[in-house]
């Protein structure tokens, strides 16, 4: 980026000069919410990247020793055999000064280069992310969407029919499903549904899609996609819908106590109108920030669910790569995740202003 030198003396004073115009523009840009938020976001990303860069390389152990151990335990090689296979093959120099590694990395990053993986024969990190990200977006994104929508509807209904049997049953369901860890739910589905009741053949539901079916926009492929995403999504929904239901319920309860709801009742508005137009909309507000945060974390996937269902998502991959101490890959995935969190936070702030005109974002 070049800087245009302005020479004030060359400009006639009487006319609105280019200088003052651009100054105005600059001020407007600086004052603009988007600009400020973008700068803040980039700054946050930079600080986070720097911190993670440092932390990742401070994680105990290193890629070479980890691979030697893997070969020894999984393949029954002797230490010497394993060492000769691994030593010197990784593109990683543990003795390089930290600052040098950092400046190298940042230099490449500015040019949009995420570097190459250390442990997997120098695959570009961007390729790895491109391979795993869509699956996570599909599975976890779908799960998040479904559980959010169900949570909103059921939560609002629970608040509206507070104290009824429906409310009590749903509260019990929500808090119990929320209290059970996701891996227990996942294994229970497989063990009870797949093995004891034999409702389905486990192997047909593992992985992302049936490898025998050609990829494309044909109904068979789409059905296979949905069939394979069914179990991860079900697990995800069961594990998280309870949280959304209960938050929505308590948020709705706060809203129901508001004066404008009472007024709306007094005005004789229809129940439906009150529920959707007044209560639902206002009760959803605090959940939007939560949703934004969740959306940000969708990218890092749901590690344990992807792991159990052998779903080729970014979370499972990150888990494997952290185990292998593949610094560049871990760094790349974290960068993408952090960027997603930052962006969705900004979006949440903007969205909040749109949904709730009472809050004028950036007015102060």
């Amino acid at each position: 980026m070049g800087v245009i030198p302005f020479r004030r003396t060359d400009q006639p004073v009487s006319q609105p000069s280019l200088w003052s115009l651009s100054k105005k523009l600059l001020r407007a840009v600086y004052r603009s919410y988007i600009f400020r938020v973008t700068v803040q976001g980039i700054l946050t990303l930079w600080v986070v990247t720097t911190c993670t860069f440092y932390m990742i390389r401070k994680m105990p152990n290193n890629p070479i020793e980890v691979k030697i151990d893997e070969f020894q335990t999984k393949q029954n090689l002797t230490y010497e055999e394993a060492r000769s296979k691994v030593a010197g093959l990784f593109d990683y120099d543990p003795d390089a000064p930290f600052i040098e590694q950092y400046t190298d990395y940042m230099g490449n990053l500015v040019q949009g280069d995420l570097g190459r993986s250390i442990t997997t024969g120098r695959t570009p990190v961007s390729q790895q992310i491109a391979k795993y990200l869509p699956w996570t977006l599909f599975a976890v994104g779908l799960g998040l969407l479904i559980s959010f929508v169900i949570g909103m509807i059921v939560g609002a209904a629970m608040a509206y029919w507070r104290g009824t049997v429906f409310d009590n049953v749903m509260t019990a369901f929500a808090s119990i499903s929320y209290g059970i860890p996701d891996f227990v739910i996942a294994f229970m589905i497989l063990l009870i549904g797949g093995i004891q009741l034999e409702l389905f053949q486990v192997g047909d539901y593992i992985g992302s899609v049936d490898p025998e079916i050609k990829a494309g926009l044909n109904p068979e492929y789409i059905r296979s996609l949905l069939q394979h995403v069914l179990l991860p999504v079900t697990t995800y929904v069961l594990a998280s819908v309870g949280g959304w239901m209960l938050t929505m319920k308590s948020s709705t309860i706060s809203t129901l106590g508001e004066d404008y709801i009472t007024v709306a009742h007094a005005r004789g508005l229809s129940q439906r109108r009150i529920l959707f137009g007044y209560v639902g909309r206002n009760a959803m507000l605090p959940l939007m920030t939560r949703l934004a945060i969740s959306v940000g974390f969708v990218l890092s996937g749901s590690i344990i669910i992807e792991y159990i269902f052998i779903y080729p998502g970014l979370g499972k991959y990150l888990f494997e790569m952290t185990g292998k101490r593949d610094y560049t890959t871990i760094q790349g995935i974290f960068l993408v995740t952090s960027a997603a969190v930052v962006i969705s936070n900004i979006l949440a702030d903007l969205l909040y202003g749109v949904l709730d005109p009472r809050v004028r974002v950036g007015s102060k």
Binding site: S84, G194, E212, Q227, F309
Partner: protein, 591 residues
Amino acid sequence: MKRYLLLFVAFILVFSVVGTFSTAKPVAKAQDAPSGTFLGTWPYTLPPDHHLNGFDASGLDTNLGVVYRQIVELTPAYYMWATDEYLPMLATEWGFTEDNTAYYIKLREDALWSDGTPITADDVIATYALARITNYFSVFSGGYISDVVKVDDYTVNFVFAGEPSLVAERGILKSSISAAASYGDLPQRALDMIASGAASDSEEWAALKTEITEFRPTQLLASGPYTYTLDDVSDSYMTLHWQPNSIFSSSVKFGEIRLWAGETEATTPLVLSGDIAHSTNVYPPSTQQAFADAGIRLLIMPRMYGPALLFNHDVHPFEVKEVRQAIAYLIDRSENAFLTNGLGATATVYMCGLLDSSVPVLMNQEDIDKLNRYELNRDKAAELLESVGFAKNSDGKWADADGNVIAAEYKFPAEFADFSAAAQNAIDQMNEFGFDITPVATPWQQTAQDIRDGNFELSVWSWASGSPFSSRQFFGPIQRFNYVGLTDGQKGMNFPMEFEYNGETINLDQMIKDASNGLDIAVQKQRAGQIALIINDLMPFIPLNVILSTEPWNEDLLAGGPADDDPILQNPSADHFIVLYLLNGTISPAN
């Protein structure tokens, strides 16, 4: 907007339910391929990480593993542990040359690659040229072989750098031979580089090494009856397809090998549901029980390592020999073995750094008789502690004269079910005896790092390894996790390896390294006995038990599995029985 969202969700839900009733998929088969699919599992990686280079650790060795690689790229011979003999695979003859300066192998003349071209000495020369540049085979990294020479179209000589070695023999006969044609001009350039006399630390050498490891073969030329392309690798399983040109193509009984992705936890439901017929993963005893309850047979074979209790010899009082011996006496190793891996682990008997099954083979009887077996004897342990000034205090804890109790942190890897169980039980037993040991579970990578850094008091890691040679089996914690095997000033256990013993100055490190040198078995036995007695007396680490592999074998899907007393089950997984039994057609699909 909301309505559309709802509709969308409903649509998806309905669709998923429809998907539930999917039917079996059509399976394409080659013309005369045998029918049936072998359902195994291996934790391979996915493309773009997945590649077919046999000389990069992230290539075939990671993606097929030592077991399945051998049915794609055959080795010269197959080792039978029970009889200590090699069975022919690619080679028909092998042995030391008459003057013992080299080892030779002679290939079968009718063997073909999957593209129909013959397998010749040039492929062996190419394989070893590539391995030499990358330092990928232990015959090179261990310095056993100085040159590989083509004798005729089917015979190759491996010239020893020093004295002839049985360790090198195993290395040669057990390494897969790759097709020269898969690697373009790299083999020739590697040979030229070697012929030019370039130093292995020169820049050209390093550049060629990088080029070889970054090379991505477009196809995998197989000498075995199965091969695959990257298109056969999906995220749930990869499929090895039968090919007609191998010497074993007519004997195998499976048309394809399906290897499911995933490790222990993810594959357990698949084993239970019959999607996996045989698994090489390590399952905890409770899961083994579940398999047995489901009518799945469990095959037991050696894994040839086990958990050892490691001492930091810089931490008082573990530098005192009597304290370590006392701990060896006080731990009930049968109980420890049972908790480590149920029936899939056995208590260590000889306590000398060699596996119990190898002791009678690798040592002389008179030395074996001298070994202290440290049979459970808590009185003896108490006596030993008292002999070095410890006594039980009023709390029932062992303390020295100044009242310091024997207290330590015991670090163990949280993820390894077997090692962490062994450690937790050892802690329980030591505390019961009157020590004050605190369990600290850490991620396994950190445990290993802490051991290397000497940042631990007590810990657990493996001892012994899957080799028939004493020098490799002795290569345990005292070399790997001790200052002699570490770099950068790491001290590890910091057990002194050079010391006075029975009036002689000895270097234990060198003794172990030299233990299997030469061809004279009697001399090797005598060396092994000497080392075993020293380790047995000093107890630098305590070999708690030996773990066995317990592999599920679904007889509803597979026929011809080995009987429990089949001697081939003495082979560990580096020489896995399915390699031989798949190739010679012993295993077939069950009907």
